[in-house]
Symmetry: C3
């Protein structure tokens, strides 16, 4: 059964940072799952709609870079351009009127029949493979980076907001109040404070730079 | 397959403004869809429960006006009075214990069998067809009016909070920071600021008056 | 059809107060329903995973007390220890990788086959049957206690934050602005202010003590 996921609280208007979330949060899924992704500063502008098949997962969304990192992180990626929105669709809710019906059809029938293959998307091809910035703060204040933890040696320290943050395997191995980073459940390096709010105590926001300290 | 929708963040306790949201947000649906609507300042009071069939859509909710505008905006509307809540239902959660089971049954079997037809609801019949007020602020700060955009000439200006707001087709045609109004995806005139927060920058709240400027 | 419920806004990190919510909010359900419950200050620590069958309802969650009150409030309760998390599961998202698959399997096939029966959980067995404290504040500011209303004489007054709160059957029988307590839709004694915010006006928070006034 396919999974539909709409990132409702990804960084508003910010396809760049959201692209790393789309890539990470769609990884623990199965072949045939369908992701409808909409973070769209250009609502109503003329950007294209895209479908992406990446390692067996389908993605549908705008050509603003939002799907670009999911493609980069996959072994196999193939792009299609969606046909234009139907004539009776709203100008401002492409998620509902243009993208969702395509995602729903893919969930029923996973083929790209009738779509135009596309070499690569217009936006996002030049974005970094891993992003050394905070890309998201969850409601506990945990600060997700755009760095895949698998690419960092396990003793790596991260430097954010003027502080060095040590690695730990998981919250309960660190004393309350201490900042640490760990590989989160979706494979990203995430900065957290055990029983605390990392975003507030370190003063982090989406876009805050992260430095990987060689050792 | 029927759609169930519970307006979880409509204006609290405010059936009047919420009624315009129910009417607008239930329009892009299909015949046979069922809407369970609960905004209820009179929880536990003796108001009746109603079912409404409006242009093929079913609505279930309290007789406090919440469904009144959905009926007014439809070509055909028919009302029924629900039987009283079951004896073992809670006094304070009619949404779950009284209305939801009726909505669920309608979704399975769309008939009003056994219900008493009702000429019109007790509340809401005298509410204006279109409401020149802000009825909702979404989490981006977009301010929805109770005015159907289809009834406004396309060059209409709206006056809110002492400022004249020009029409635009969609966000991306307006420079960032500028307030405009447009027909939103559910047909309402909505006041927005491209990449900004209209509610905050104009100081709007639910109930703020909107003036339609003749020209 | 089974109901899955994840308490997404229960008191953060606080299995003790959340346990009374789990017990109360899972009562209005049917035999065979499955509740996946995760409030987990010990993410990644070595606490066990448990399954509970209480009066025909299944519960899956961590052995940190979260399920203890649901067992205490039932006539019949039986516990099992879950097998350890799969080797490829994340260390920090046991809800998704360890508990949810077990809950999903129970929803398909309600048997404990292959699980080790457990006499009682490690945590929560000594927690009070009813808790005379605020256990939750909802987004209206209503303050839920851990007291089952069925155990309180109907004329009982509750004392919170230095004020005596009278009983009422339901919101609409009390004048706006007045604090009262009533049996909420899940059987808990709940302190509310008609058309107001009880939590703010009385200065309540999770853990605030509640005194049952004998009379």
């Amino acid at each position: 059964m396919p999974v539909f996921s709409l990132l409702t609280n990804a960084p508003t208007f910010d396809a760049f940072h959201s692209a790393y979330l789309v890539a990470a949060y769609s990884r623990p899924s199965r072949e045939g799952d369908v992701f409808l992704c909409v973070v769209d500063p250009g609502v109503g502008s003329e950007r294209a709609g895209l479908a992406l098949l990446a390692d067996g997962r389908w993605y549908v969304g705008p050509d603003n870079g939002l799907l670009a990192i999911a493609a980069k992180w996959s072994r196999q990626a193939k792009w299609w351009r969606l046909p234009p929105p139907p004539a009776d669709s709203s100008l401002s809710f492409h998620g509902r009127d243009w993208f969702a019906p395509h995602a729903a059809r893919l969930a029923q029938q996973p083929t790209a029949r009738g779509w135009l293959e596309s070499a690569s998307p217009a936006v996002g091809d030049d974005w970094p493979l891993d992003l050394a910035e905070i890309v998201y703060l969850d409601h506990y204040g945990n600060a997700l980076t755009g760095l895949r933890a698998a690419g960092l040696p396990s003793h790596t320290r991260l430097r954010v907001a003027g502080e060095n943050v040590m690695p730990a395997q998981v919250f309960s191995t660190v004393s309350p109040g201490t900042a640490f980073w760990y590989e989160n459940a979706n494979g990203l390096a995430e900065i957290a404070v055990n029983k605390g709010n990392a975003g507030q105590s370190l003063g982090l926001e989406v876009g805050s730079p992260v430095e990987v300290l060689a050792d």
